[in-house]
């Protein structure tokens, strides 16, 4: 149920950009989804199929580009996958680490059909 609100926003953003470009149809949306954003692809897809009907985006493919949750070591600058257990740098053992990725959630681009030139 959490994904309905974001799916509505995805549709609104895509339609706005498509209309600005004078597109006749949206065929594909590329979404960047960080692991920490707790967005479930299948749920977005489920709501998408319901709410995109009857719009320029009807039948468009959703492509999800997942971004892993990453930590960065402040001492040796090593970047590594969050392990949900220690939050320690696997290379130098430092505890001075910060979140370096995985919270992204944005619409990267849309593929559209444009009207044939006259």
């Amino acid at each position: 149920m959490h994904e309905l609100g974001v799916t509505q926003n995805i549709l609104a953003i895509a339609l706005r950009h498509a209309e600005e470009a004078g597109a006749t149809r949206i065929t594909r949306l590329t979404l960047v989804v960080g692991e920490l954003s707790s967005i479930v692809d299948d749920s977005v897809q489920f709501y998408w199929d319901l709410i995109a009907n009857g719009t320029l985006a009807e039948g468009a493919t959703l492509e999800f580009r997942r971004v892993p949750a990453m930590l960065r070591c402040n001492d040796c600058q090593h970047e590594f996958r969050m392990d949900y257990e220690t939050f320690l740098c696997p290379r130098c053992g430092s505890s001075r680490v910060t979140v370096a990725g995985g919270e992204e959630f944005y619409l990267e681009s849309i593929d559209v059909d444009l009207p044939a030139p006259v």
């Binding site: 950009h17 920490l36 707790s38 939050f87 979140v99 849309i110 059909d113």
Partner: protein, 221 residues
């Protein structure tokens, strides 16, 4: 096929309504707290302690996302304005539920509005309510690994209480391990180890809250 770059952050429609709630709180000049914890983490006890300490200094109201009004009745009996938010058994509060309950309270007559969320460390983290401060309560019996398992909740906290500190010695609770997880996710977050049962640590937490209230009340003038 033409590709149009967009690169626009996706918001939840909930966030837009949360902004409206925030504007309403700001117009009333009150400080709004969103209190989140696991079931049994101590939300109600923390709120009861705030009321005990601050009720003679500031005007407090409580909104509650519980299914039953049991806790609220004891607050109401002390003359605290209360409102039960109808969650229909949902796993979290959202901005719309809070918005719908706002007309039941006279916000202009409050300095502090405490919103008690549904007991859950996952879903409430994803739904802003428009409150000024996210108060997250962890408790010793839950274990020291909670920041590692529920990173979004701890990352979004503005202030973190670690409750039931009186049990720490019986539970082998590794405070350093807990704090390390918190510090990675949310560097510098205000942190108060407390026990609502013994009162340990509550003075520091209440002093911190009092300072936030003073800022709000000053901004009114």
């Amino acid at each position: 096929m033409p590709n149009i770059p967009v690169v626009e952050t996706i918001l939840n429609v909930n966030d837009q309504l949360a902004e409206k709630n925030r504007a309403i709180f700001d117009r009333a000049g009150l400080l709004a707290l969103n209190v989140m914890a696991s079931p049994g983490g101590g939300k109600t006890s923390v709120i009861a302690r705030i009321i005990d300490t601050l009720r003679d200094e500031v005007r407090i109201g409580v909104m509650d996302g519980d299914i039953v009004a049991l806790d609220l009745e004891s607050f109401a009996a002390q003359g605290i304005p209360v409102s039960l938010i109808n969650t229909g058994g949902n796993c979290h509060l959202d901005a719309n539920m809070v918005h719908s309950a706002l007309p039941t309270m006279n916000l202009d007559a409050l300095d502090l509005l405490i919103i008690e969320n549904v007991g859950n460390l996952i879903c409430p983290a994803a739904f802003r309510l428009g409150s000024h401060l996210n108060v997250v309560i962890a408790s010793v019996p839950e274990g020291a690994d909670k920041p590692y398992k529920y990173p979004a909740m701890f990352r979004g906290a503005d202030v973190l209480l670690l409750n039931k500190m009186d049990l720490a010695e019986y539970m082998d609770f590794d405070v350093d391990y807990f704090r390390h997880g918190v510090e990675v996710l949310n560097p510098g977050v205000a942190f108060f180890p407390v026990s609502c049962r013994t009162g340990e640590g509550l003075d520091a937490w209440h002093a911190w809250l009092r300072a936030r209230l003073a800022e709000k009340i000053q901004a009114r003038a």
